[in-house]
């Protein structure tokens, strides 16, 4: 596990947070079978032999005022005989969650919102974080989650994983290695269902790992070489759930290998074939939110699917495998309700009207900040500042893989990029677009990061048009009669920036680049602006049809070593915006080299080699050292131009919502707010 510098000033280490950080690896002895509830009535719990939990009042038969071991709505169902008693639903060793602030009470609804069926990210971030391992709230360490043991061999090429015994799917069926086997062999490795095996399941040679089932709860996953980061992968949102997404007992009926009639049935139901039905009901993007019949391991399960109406509803999973310190089954909150609002301004109107309990997406930008804060009292919520993890709010990436050789040579020229960075008046950008608050920044690790290098973060940020002109003159870009420079081969310095103008920061980027247009014109560079819907923009980027583009500076903190796209030609989401083809060359291991306009240059190839070493280095400290070498090259090469980092994003936290625990990082890898453990959040009507 990578550990942070102890002295790194991580903002979540605030007084209120101490408890949530104190239990990285739950001690199995904390949770006992003695949690067992005596008698038929679920409301009277026996505390015999268990001094850790204060269930005294229940043992005394008081019952009335206390919450008991399970939610009243489930107790009713037990009473009616619809559901086995809580002790039979919980695993032998349930995970004990320490409350962030206080022990909660059952009940209530967590209201939040999505823009529609395609708005998966917020659903993932709020309720779908149940991997084998889980990151602590401060993201420093991993703790056991679905796995009750996770052992690596000496060279980190073989991992022995034990599933927590007695964990059940939301329909009561036990989770066993049979599910793991099905998930791996019949879904992840099935070429009909899965295009491109997920990278976390691939060994260093690019071949999928080997799965060996030991017994009902233990399995071994083996690679052909060391993959020390597999442990880290298994604690990330989607990656860590690859083995436990697929309830075998339910999904077998849709799989052609287990049901020969699956194809005909699917066609009869209106699907194109069994793959389409299988995908719709149990794979890929929307299955968890659109199929109420699908058994899951999440704290809340789908009651009313996303695509139906103006809201989606998720209800507590009666078989959820976690308890609070008193042994009461989590989650505290009965339901999660997603209001479906396509328009962000309407969603914001709901938010400041106090209709949402926790929300940190869609509208949590600078433009909405003042209104959100002004309405705190009226809406009954607090605006909590999150910790920004984007190195810069707008990084400018020239396409170093441009199809046009003339432009490509210009963009590959480091001096050219340095000159254009000096030509940007960053204070002006801050004043106009970021409420006059923020810092100048290059795409480099942020001050909070253990990789922070002040020089890297601030080089070439001072506004100096004279220096810019000088550098361009020296580099041979002669000023033409029309005031536009041209390279020696006659290539005019005239480009178009492609911007996804409907992203969260889209308008800011458009305005920002519109301002930079004038700043660059002053040094003889002509810029055109092309704002497009996100979908079209993405298609243009993927087809390598762009001169330059802008995006947030991912990987500034928390996920420096995985979201590497601003440091080297690699990383998720198709890789670096400044070199898509070199990124594809690396991540796809040359499978697409035919399309490449030019093989990677020396520095890029060097970074690729270093990253290969990084991925297979078992020692954490040595790994960091390798990554520092990658960063040193990035600093020297200055691949892309950063601008400024404005005020941090924020979250709306309802005054009745408890245990959120204050600020947390805002980051896609972190999956804000899931590591803050929403299952232990509760609604207080006081």
């Amino acid at each position: 596990m990578s550990t942070r510098n102890p002295q790194s000033d991580h903002p979540s280490q605030r007084p209120g947070d101490e408890r949530s950080r104190s239990v990285p690896w739950p001690d199995p002895s904390l949770s006992r079978r003695s949690l067992v509830v005596a008698g038929g009535t679920a409301l009277t719990a026996s505390a015999a032999g268990c001094g850790f939990f204060s269930t005294d009042s229940d043992a005394d038969g008081g019952g009335g005022g206390d919450k008991g071991p399970e939610a009243p709505m489930l107790a009713e169902r037990v009473e009616a005989g619809d559901l086995p008693p809580v002790e039979e639903r919980l695993p032998k060793e349930p995970i004990v969650i320490t409350a962030a602030e206080s022990i909660g009470v059952y009940g209530g609804t967590w209201n939040t919102a999505i823009t529609g069926a395609s708005d998966g990210p917020w659903l993932w971030r709020t309720i779908a974080y149940e991997p084998l391992l889980k990151r602590t709230r401060d993201w420093q360490e991993a703790e056991l989650n679905l796995a009750s043991a996770f052992e690596a061999n000496a060279d980190a090429s073989e991992f022995t994983i034990t599933l927590r015994e007695g964990v059940r799917w939301s329909d009561g069926e036990p989770l066993t290695t049979a599910d793991v086997e099905f998930a791996y062999n019949d879904v992840n490795l099935n070429a009909d269902i899965t295009q491109g095996v997920p990278p976390e399941l691939l060994g260093p040679d690019g071949e999928p790992g080997e799965l060996e089932i030991v017994d009902d709860y233990t399995f071994i996953f083996r690679f052909n070489g060391p993959k020390p980061l597999f442990e880290e992968d298994m604690s990330r949102g989607t990656a860590g759930q690859r083995f436990t997404f697929y309830p075998r007992h339910y999904l077998e009926q849709f799989h052609i290998d287990y049901n020969a009639a699956a194809d005909d049935e699917a066609v009869a139901e209106g699907y194109d074939g069994w793959v389409a039905r299988f995908t719709a009901l149990g794979n890929l993007w929307n299955f968890m939110w659109e199929n109420p019949d699908l058994p899951t391991l999440l704290a809340w399960v789908c009651k009313k699917p996303v695509s139906d109406a103006d809201h989606a509803m998720f209800e507590r999973n009666p078989y959820y495998y976690k308890v609070d310190e008193e042994g009461s089954q989590l989650p505290y909150i009965d339901e999660v309700r997603y209001n479906i609002v396509a328009d962000v301004e309407t969603m914001f109107a709901h938010a400041i009207n106090g209709d949402y309990d926790f929300h940190s997406r869609h509208f949590n930008d600078n433009a909405h900040r003042a209104d959100a804060i002004d309405n705190e009292a009226a809406g009954g919520y607090t605006v909590v500042e999150l910790e920004s993890t984007y190195s810069s709010d707008m990084n400018i990436a020239f396409n170093l893989n441009h199809a046009d050789p003339g432009l490509r040579e210009v963009f590959k020229d480091r001096q050219f990029r340095i000159a254009l960075s000096h030509a940007i008046d960053r204070q002006e950008l801050l004043d106009v677009l970021w409420s006059r608050v923020g810092e100048f920044s290059q795409p480099a690790p942020m001050p909070n990061s253990r990789f922070y290098d002040e020089e890297f973060a601030t080089q070439y940020t001072e506004f100096d048009p004279d220096a810019a002109n000088q550098i361009l003159d020296d580099a041979g870009y002669a000023l033409g009669a029309d005031g536009v420079r041209a390279a020696a081969d006659g290539t005019r310095l005239e480009f178009t920036v492609s911007i996804a103008d409907d992203s969260l920061l889209g308008t800011t980027w458009i305005d920002g680049m519109d301002m930079i247009k004038d700043m660059w014109a002053a040094v003889g560079v002509t810029l055109h602006i092309n704002g497009q819907p996100r979908e079209n923009w993405q298609a243009g980027i993927d087809e390598n049809e762009y001169d330059l583009t802008v995006w947030t500076g991912d990987g500034g903190d928390i996920d420096e070593t995985t979201s590497v796209m601003w440091y080297m030609a690699a990383g998720p989401s198709g890789g670096a915006h400044w070199a898509r083809q070199w990124s594809a060359h690396y991540t796809l291991r040359g499978a697409q080299d035919d399309e490449m306009v030019e093989p990677p240059i020396e520095a890029v190839a060097q970074q690729h080699d270093l990253y290969d070493q990084f991925l297979s280095e078992p020692d954490a400290a040595a790994r960091d050292e390798i990554f520092r070498q990658i960063l040193a090259i990035a600093k020297e090469e200055f691949w892309a131009i950063g601008t400024v980092r404005g005020p941090a994003p924020w979250a709306i936290v309802s005054d009745r919502l408890r245990n959120v625990g204050g600020s947390m990082p805002e980051n896609p890898t972190y999956g804000t707010p899931c590591p803050a453990k929403p299952e232990q959040w509760y609604i207080s009507e006081e």
Binding site: V432, V437, M515, N530, Q532, P533, N536, G540
Partner: protein, 380 residues
């Protein structure tokens, strides 16, 4: 409207003698004048035309002027007398400067007028250089601050520190011309096809009618969405603007074609048409020289009634992110910027473009109604 120049107004319209001998144009004008709102609207539209022609002169600042010190600043009041100076009344056109304050938590910047900071304003002041009609270089502006670096924001500024009044003037040129050019294109199509259809009848009529039905049955907004999304992304704002106009025209011609066809169908049997044909006039001459002019007022009416839907379509498309896109400036783009919560709560002046759209749309409608009422002066 050019009729205004004739001395028609001096003649008593209701006098029988004058009425009997007046030309059709004059009769229409008399009838039109009765519709007071239409008359006022006509003047408004003429004013708009002037704005379109003299955009750079009327706008106090250039289209790229941006003032980082004043983002989202409220409108200033244009004053003639300065009473705060301390030494009595001081005459002279001016506005008060701003003092600003920023809330440390919400980061909201609020502005107030600063009576001590007087910004002198003048007419025909020197400002940013431009080329009138794209030809004549000039640097005078109708109104502006005496010192071009001073803030004079009569309608306030946008969230990114641009003068709303100047932006609005520039947007008017883009949006109003989308409407007008689009409608003219649609009319060319509609009149030609409608006339041919109605004049010849038979299978030609049948084919054109089916075509019209086809266009009418395809719901228009999805059609726009599809076509607008199909535009190559690399297209510049100007090209995009012309293509959208053409798309709008392609959808809008059907209604007029129907109307024209109906008229031609009804008129085909009339004597003056038959005599023109017997006279040996060509089909084209009969159609466009004899028949069409007889209901030109109707066409003008229909024309002015369909411009508003063009303008509104532009705003809707831009709002959906499929029409003109910033940094191009148009009414649609401005309204898209204005349909934000923060505008309603703290910057209501940014809704002024909406007001302008409403006024222009109303004006076109009233002029169209007036024309339609007046189109058949013999009815009364």
């Amino acid at each position: 409207m050019t009729l205004k120049a004739t001395d028609g107004a001096a003649v008593e319209p209701e006098a029988d003698g004058a009425r009997a001998t007046a030309s059709q144009r004059r009769l229409v004008w008399w009838a039109f004048k009765k519709h007071r709102l239409a008359l006022i609207s006509a003047w408004l539209l003429i004013a708009m035309l002037v704005v379109i022609l003299l955009t750079e002169f009327i706008a106090p600042f250039g289209s790229r002027h941006r003032d980082s010190a004043y983002t989202t600043a409220p409108p200033q009041v244009l004053k003639i007398v300065d009473t705060d100076g301390g030494d009595g009344w001081q005459w002279g056109l001016h506005v008060d400067g701003y003092v600003s304050e920023q809330d440390p938590r919400s980061l909201r910047i609020t502005y107030e007028a600063d009576p001590d900071d007087r910004v002198d304003v003048g007419f025909f002041v020197k400002g940013e250089e431009y080329e009138l009609f794209g030809l004549i270089p000039w640097d005078r502006h109708l109104i502006g601050p005496e010192d071009p670096d001073d803030p004079m924001y009569l309608l306030g500024t946008t969230t990114d520190g641009q003068d709303l009044f100047s932006q609005l003037v520039y947007a008017t040129r883009v949006s109003a011309s989308v409407g007008i050019i689009g409608v003219l294109l649609a009319f060319a199509l509609g009149i030609v096809l409608g006339a041919i259809s109605g004049y010849f009848g038979g299978w030609i009529d049948n084919v054109i009618q089916r075509l019209i039905e086809l266009f009418m049955a395809v719901p228009s907004i999805p059609l726009w969405l599809g076509l607008a999304a199909a535009l190559p992304a690399q297209m510049g704002p100007v090209t995009r603007y012309f293509i959208i106009t053409t798309i709008l025209a392609l959808v809008a011609w059907t209604g007029l074609a129907r109307e024209v066809r109906g008229r031609f169908l009804a008129m085909r049997g009339e004597e003056f048409v038959t005599s023109a044909m017997l006279d040996g006039s060509s089909h084209r001459r009969v159609m466009f020289r004899h028949m069409l002019p007889s209901f030109s007022s109707h066409i003008i009416a229909a024309l002015s009634l369909s411009i508003p839907s063009m303008i509104l379509a532009e705003t809707a498309l831009s709002w959906l992110g499929l029409g003109l896109r910033p940094p191009a400036v148009s009414w649609g783009v401005q309204l898209q910027d204005a349909s934000k919560w923060s505008v309603l709560s703290n910057a209501p002046w940014l809704l002024i473009p909406g007001l302008v759209v409403v006024i222009v749309v109303l004006a076109f409608n009233f002029v169209g109604d007036g024309m339609r009422d007046a189109a058949d002066p013999y009815k009364h």
